[in-house]
């Protein structure tokens, strides 16, 4: 094992410390990661673009003492829907294939202000619409645990990059589970912060009332470290919260003793089966053994059911897909071929044809489907039946959570119904794909923070995530509970086979 690959084994916090103390140089760290990308990303396909020259230049500046900060020299991957003034911001869409943003996303700028080095932009489902990264127009991203399987999505590139040690940590975005679901499927930690905790400025919008940027890391401590840096009020995002950002590392070592862990009846129905159920049951035992108390709570409007044919269903998913499609139908209207991005080269008769051809040529099937669903849900005559009703369900779901958190500090449940599925397995059935987020949607509707962390492995060696849900601004409790589980279970910092194969 070379010294270079040693550095890629470290967490972001460990690497930052090694660089700060002079044990390692930033240049060595960047070179180690660039070498890892060279060696392994051909098989994984995590990155849409790697900024090798820029990363080397920043590493040189870190080593010269010109760039300092808590993440000085730490290579971070960024999902390709966050604007950067360097490289392209494509959202894995043909429409933005050559788009160069004129400004930087606040969360990314915050990371770099803390000394981090953005290593590249990671692949995703086009415009963050999907749960497998198969809706990317750029490349296929594979799961480092089994390259015949999907990494999850939509932040699949970031999840795969972290799991395959192609970056020290990454940023993803989560609208209905897009950080937590791929984190679960790739055996890493992923946090969706409280809505408004991290600025959305510079994050290409999908569902504006649901979108949140969050960290995707190898362990809970890194998630706490990155969240501290990216969180906070931003004058350019009117929905960003003004509350002070606490030191998320403060409670990390407080353990599980005395924690009240809520188990929502409606998440523990017959729908929760097989390998995932046994990992969750084991996690509950681990918490109890570590001194936590478990309490049954109720989230009636988030209930997950299963029918005789094995089909899952939930109000939350229905409400979620109406709200997110309605918002995206309007958010994506700006991609019209007029001001920037793809414009048809066909000769057009009028502006309407320019719009429709440019969009038809450059937007993918799933994106078109959601735009049409959203326009339908908002159209007069259907608005009350769909959009308005979904808003009411959303309110009821949020009320359920608020009531539940009177009896517990944190809620524990599954992140996904199954471990990683095979590439192509769900591409013909969009509804089946939507249900991959059945345990994660309701949090986005309620604006709550949620974190997925590795719970264990399935019998065929695939990671299974467990999800912790907190009340509004309950991130400190999530980090504490998450770290307590890591310490008690030993499932932290799983090493995916793709790395073992290489080292």
């Amino acid at each position: 094992m070379s010294a270079a690959s040693d550095l890629t084994i470290l967490t972001a916090a460990e690497l930052a410390k090694a660089i700060a103390t002079g044990e390692a140089s930033a240049t060595a760290a960047i070179e180690a990661y660039l070498a890892a990308i060279d060696a392994r990303d051909g098989a994984i396909g995590a990155y849409n673009e790697v900024f090798a020259d820029r990363a080397r230049a920043r590493a040189t500046s870190v080593d010269a003492g010109e760039i300092t900060g808590p993440l000085a020299g730490v290579p971070i991957a960024v999902k390709d829907n966050m604007c950067t003034t360097y490289g392209r911001t494509t959202c894995a869409s043909t429409y933005l294939a050559t788009f160069e943003a004129p400004y930087d996303c606040t969360a990314v700028a915050n990371l770099e202000a803390a000394g981090a080095v953005v290593l590249g932009k990671t692949n995703m489902d086009e415009f963050a619409m999907g749960s497998s990264t198969e809706n990317s127009s750029t490349r296929m991203t594979r799961n480092p645990w089994d390259t015949d399987r999907v990494p999850g999505g939509s932040s699949g590139g970031s999840a795969a990059a972290v799991a395959a040690h192609l970056c020290a940590a990454a940023l993803g975005s989560d609208t209905g589970g897009s950080i937590r679901q791929p984190a679960a499927l790739c055996g890493i930690v992923g946090l969706k912060p409280t809505y408004g905790r991290v600025s959305r400025y510079g994050l290409v919008a999908f569902g504006s009332s649901l979108d949140q940027i969050g960290p995707m890391t190898r362990d809970v401590a890194d998630a706490a470290l990155l969240t501290r840096i990216i969180a906070g009020h931003d004058d350019r995002d009117a929905t960003s919260l003004s509350e002070d950002v606490p030191d998320y590392a403060a409670d990390l070592a407080s353990g599980a003793a005395g924690l009240r862990i809520g188990l929502p009846t409606e998440f523990y129905t017959d729908a929760l089966g097989g390998e995932v159920r046994s990992v969750i049951d084991q996690a509950i035992e681990t918490y109890r053994a570590a001194g936590a108390e478990t309490v049954e709570v109720s989230l009636p409007h988030s209930r997950i059911d299963i029918d005789a044919d094995g089909k899952l269903s939930s109000f939350a998913v229905a409400a979620y897909y109406i709200i997110c499609t309605a918002e995206c139908s309007s958010n994506l209207a700006r991609f019209d071929g007029v001001h920037y991005g793809h414009r048809t080269e066909e000769k057009v008769e009028d502006i309407i044809e320019l719009y429709s051809r440019s969009r038809a040529e450059s937007l993918g099937e799933e994106v078109k489907r959601r735009i049409m669903l959203g326009n339908y849900a908002l159209s007069s005559g259907y608005y009350d039946a769909y959009y308005n009703k979904a808003l009411k369900v959303r309110r009821l779901i949020a009320n359920d959570f608020a009531a539940a958190f009177k009896h517990c500090d944190v809620i524990l449940c599954a992140t996904t119904p199954t471990p990683a599925f095979r590439i192509g397995e769900k591409t013909d059935d969009p509804l089946e794909m939507y249900l991959a987020d059945i345990y994660t949607n309701s949090l986005n509707l309620a604006g709550l923070p949620g974190m997925s962390l590795p719970g264990g492995l399935s019998s065929d060696g695939l990671p299974v995530g467990i999800q912790l849900i907190g009340p509004v601004l309950g991130e400190p409790t999530l980090f504490r509970a998450g770290r307590a589980f890591e310490a008690a279970s030993g499932t932290s910092r799983l090493t995916s086979p793709v790395i073992e194969g290489q080292s």
């Binding site: 933005l96 510079g202 994050l203 569902g207 009332s209 929905t239 139908s329 309007s330 700006r334 007069s380």
Partner: protein
């Protein structure tokens, strides 16, 4: 199928939407400068260019301005309002949705009193006033392509919608002009027509009484009128057009059969023109903008804005007529803007006689203001200067003609009216000794006239007075000089 129809009465029924661009320093949802007339696309940023990932942040000043207008119109200003997206595709709207207010406008249900030529006023109900962002401009005169200028995109636009309470061209114009006066008065808009700060969209139909029945013609909305003249012509044209169309087909040309229609306006022919209807009705798919929190207008904010409004034009005009005993025309002219009346009131407050001040302001000063295309207050006369000059008139230290000369000098160069009058020798002379010199000279030089005057020719007396004034270069106190002249002539 035509038949003779005896019309007993035609009542035009008109409602008016007025779009007012607010004079905030920056745009509605970004911090680009709100400024008209610069090179295309020089006041733009990622937000108003609709770059992916950019987000709107509300301009509080624009909201305060809108609340001010709403309160001045007697509207209810609710504690909670919100922003909605109005979705439609157009190249000058880069997001392809406009941030507007759908069901919770910033202000609703007010009444606007407008003056009529008769001297009476009429109350026009205001349905709502909501705030939105303006679109950019398509530029069509480029070779081979259409350009888009986004300097105006995102400029705050207040849309004030009246009930259909106007029944004549005169009332529509009165309402529109009063609204212009009001928004200028409140300091929320320059309301400059040439710069497109105000745009009109009237809804017009007729209630025709004939043969014991009332017929309603289709409601026509005329889009995007940019001048008072266009508004006047469009409404007048619609009244005559709808009358003749109804006469041609009394049963067919009705609201019930044809509903609402949009028409454009042709500036050259001064006629409204048919606009091809879109194949399907517009569905704007309004929904609450998730990027913007609800707007909370608490009691304290509302009260502080209300406290800023002060006396409104109509009330002030009435006060001038009552307290200062001004004629309607005078009072009206002094209430075109707030600052001119403020100047008058300030001069009166330090003891000047109102009527003297008014004569000064509405004489040469008003003429100069008109030449300069500005308000009287913009001429820069200070209340102290106005009061000083008015008091000189009251005390007969200057005559009216010389006072005008001094006022012009004050406007041109500033300075104290008394000092200017002194330097220019315009102080009025009432001293009998000095007056006598001019009177004696005038008598000596015009023996014929003197003879006629002594025979009782009043006209000649005037001529001799003119000679005295001329010799004094306008400084003689006319009353005193007249008395002295008559005395000398033995009158």
């Amino acid at each position: 199928m035509t038949r003779t129809t005896n019309i007993s009465k035609v009542t035009p029924v008109v409602g008016l939407e007025i779009h007012v661009e607010l004079a905030t320093q920056t745009k509605m949802f970004c911090r680009c400068i709100n400024q008209f007339g610069d090179e295309p696309n020089t006041h733009v940023c990622p937000v108003c260019m609709a770059m992916p990932g950019s987000l709107p942040v509300m301009n509080r000043q624009a909201v305060a301005f809108s609340i001010k207008v709403g309160l001045a119109l007697g509207c209810t200003v609710p504690e909670y309002t919100k922003w909605d997206r109005k979705n439609y595709y157009y190249p000058d709207l880069p997001k392809n949705y406009q941030i507007s207010q759908y069901d919770l406008p910033l202000a609703a249900h007010g009444v606007f009193e407008i003056p009529l030529e008769s001297g009476e006023t009429k109350a026009i109900r205001v349905l709502r006033a909501h705030l939105e962002e303006d679109a950019g401009k398509n530029i069509h005169d480029l070779p081979g392509c259409t350009g888009v200028d986004l300097n105006r995109a995102g400029v705050p636009l207040l849309e004030i919608v009246s009930e259909p309470d106007m029944n004549s061209v005169e009332e529509v114009l009165g309402y529109a002009r009063s609204m212009q006066r009001l928004v200028r008065w409140l300091g929320v808009s320059e309301a400059n027509m040439q710069m497109g700060h105000m745009r009109f969209e009237p809804n017009i139909n007729l209630h025709i009484e004939a043969g014991g029945q009332t017929y309603k013609t289709p409601i026509v909305e005329v889009k995007n009128l940019n001048s008072f003249r266009a508004l006047e012509r469009a409404v007048a044209y619609e009244i005559s057009r709808q009358t003749s169309e109804w006469k041609a087909d009394p049963e067919g040309f009705t609201l019930a059969k044809l509903g609402k229609q949009n028409r454009g306006y042709d500036d050259n022919t001064e006629k409204t023109v048919f606009q091809r209807e879109k194949e399907e009705a517009h569905d704007y798919r309004y929904f609450p903008d998730p990027d913007l929190p609800a707007v909370v207008v608490d009691e304290a904010w509302r009260e502080s804005i209300a406290g800023d409004i002060g006396e409104l034009p109509l009330a002030r005009r009435q006060r001038y007529m009552d307290a200062y005993r001004l004629a309607f025309q005078e009072a009206d002219a002094l209430t075109m803007d707030a600052a001119t009346g403020d100047l008058l009131d300030a001069a009166v407050a330090v003891g000047a006689e109102p009527k003297r001040c008014v004569n000064l302001l509405l004489g040469r000063a008003a003429a100069i203001a008109k030449e300069r295309d500005c308000t009287i207050a913009d001429l820069g006369i200070a209340a102290g200067q106005l009061a000083e000059l008015a008091t000189m008139l009251t005390d007969s230290n200057i005559n009216a003609t010389s006072a005008e000369t001094v006022l012009v000098a004050v406007i041109e160069d500033g300075g104290s009216p008394a000092e200017i009058a002194e330097v220019q020798g315009l102080l009025q002379v009432s001293d009998t000794g000095r007056l006598e010199v001019w009177v004696d000279e005038a008598i000596a030089e015009n023996p014929d006239a003197v003879a006629k005057a002594r025979e009782g020719d009043k006209k000649v007396l005037g001529f001799l007075m003119g000679q005295v004034m001329k010799k004094s270069r306008g400084a003689a106190n006319p009353g005193e000089a007249n008395k002295l002249l008559k005395q000398k002539l033995g009158g």
